[in-house]
């Protein structure tokens, strides 16, 4: 296999090797697996595309995301070769112009790739969608997300303070990957909503600044839950309405029980989105300072009424995704970066050829 990356011959035990890699600036600060030739070749075999095939260039350094370079980062992150198609597919999705990777990587905002996986591959790779799916404990979740973030550092130059101006960044920049509990969701899976077949494997990428919890154990009906979510989102107005940007999508990650309560109340996903839109249309003027109100009114006059300011311009700016373990009634809400749109892409499969033309950067 013709690999072109520079080889570094390192002496010493694992501590010394990691120390060298850390000092070279190749890591996220956590230990990594040394990307030896044998490991990188095995990773490339996990998809079977040519090592020199480029998915595109990652901003802001605009390094070529070749299969070889992505495989090196996937090895370092601890991926198994069978995870590699998900890593490559995630990079493809992040390079969709609608996602606006340049801004996500460089902004002062903590916006970070959040990867959401649908399809049978969730079971094949054991990608967690239940208890603790956004947290530690699952190799696929932990290392796929980490591989993508290491690629942003090593290929894209997302170096804190240099290539990214994120004021605080966030823990999701280590890794953020989970799946949908399609079997327990009362609605069609997210990728089916986006026009894919249920048996297709997809990755969906968003760019949240963070994620907060909305727990409503007192609620007994679906509408009850939605009313409280909408109420809580009034407080999000100040941070989600970016007058200088477009209008991004807001991921609402619902536990299966909340989703089922809504379905029992007759809420389809679409109806739930419409409810959230209708009930966040009049955030009181008192939630904002005078200068912010003036700035918002200039850029988004259509979102002003005599009763207040609308959080969203359309119902489909709310994305609904069903994940998380049973037993506690929690829904998560992700604030948005504004100038980014959610992208869903079919994942490549091992053995199928790469796209005919390398996408222009």
């Amino acid at each position: 296999m013709g690999l072109v990356s520079k080889r570094h011959l390192l002496d010493g035990d694992v501590d010394a090797v990691f120390d060298h890699m850390y000092r070279a600036g190749w890591t996220d600060g956590l230990p990594v697996i040394p990307p030896t030739r044998r490991r990188v070749e095995a990773m490339i075999e996990g998809l079977g595309w040519p090592a020199d095939f480029s998915i595109g260039r990652l901003p802001p350094k605009y390094g070529e995301a070749t299969i070889e370079k992505l495989a090196i980062n996937a090895v370092m992150a601890g991926c198994l070769p069978e995870y590699f198609p998900v890593v490559v597919g995630s990079i493809q999705a992040l390079l969709d112009p609608a996602y606006n990777l340049y801004s996500v990587n460089t902004t002062t905002h903590p916006a970070t790739p959040m990867l959401m996986i649908n399809g049978p591959i969730r079971h094949e790779l054991d990608i967690n969608f239940s208890w603790g799916c956004m947290g530690p404990g699952w190799r696929a979740n932990a290392t796929i997300g980490r591989a993508v973030n290491l690629a942003m550092l090593n290929i894209g130059g997302r170096i804190p303070g240099v290539g990214t101006k994120a004021v605080h960044a966030q823990p999701g920049r280590f890794t953020w990957c989970f799946a949908e509990w399609e079997e327990e969701s009362p609605w069609e899976p997210y990728h089916v909503e986006r026009g894919f077949d249920r048996n297709e494997n997809t990755v969906t990428v968003a760019a949240p600044g963070g994620v907060r919890t909305m727990e409503f154990p007192e609620c007994v009906t679906g509408e009850d839950v939605l009313e409280n979510i909408a109420g809580a989102l009034h407080g999000e107005g100040g941070i989600n309405i970016f007058p200088q940007f477009g209008q991004g999508e807001m991921p609402v990650i619902m536990c299966t029980e909340h989703a089922k309560m809504m379905m029992q109340d007759g809420f389809t996903k679409q109806k739930a989105k419409e409810y959230l839109y209708e009930h966040t249309r009049h955030i009181p003027f008192s939630s904002f300072s005078k200068s912010k109100l003036e700035a918002m009114r200039k850029i988004r006059p259509d979102q002003f009424s005599d009763k207040g300011v609308a959080l969203a311009a359309r119902p489909d700016q709310f994305m609904i995704y069903v994940s998380g373990g049973p037993g506690g009634l929690h829904t998560r809400f992700c604030d948005t970066f504004g100038d980014t749109w959610i992208v869903t892409k079919r994942l490549p499969r091992k053995g199928e050829p790469p796209p005919p033309v390398s996408p222009a950067s």
């Binding site: 901003p59 802001p60 350094k61 605009y62 460089t106 130059g157 303070g161 240099v162 290539g163 990214t164 101006k165 200088q244």
Partner: protein, 72 residues
């Protein structure tokens, strides 16, 4: 710049390192910058006009290919 036209690059103080990385990626590692204060977007118009008046000589120098500011 890609079209061969004289260009002045205005960069706010905090974004110099990012701008340098970008220009290097675009093939202009030595492009001269005119550095303006940061943050910029929230300044009142009056202040922005004052900054423009202060920087106009440097901007003219940049487009005239006589950079006063060399990259660090």
């Amino acid at each position: 710049m890609d079209r061969g036209r004289p260009t002045a690059l205005l960069v706010s103080q905090s974004f110099q390192s990012l701008a340098r990385m970008l220009m290097k990626a675009r093939g202009y590692p030595d492009a001269p910058f005119v550095v303006i204060p940061h943050p910029f977007e929230s300044l009142p118009e009056e202040t922005i006009r004052r900054i423009a008046r202060e920087k106009v000589t440097e901007i003219i120098a940049a487009v005239s290919e006589q950079p006063l500011h060399q990259p660090a």
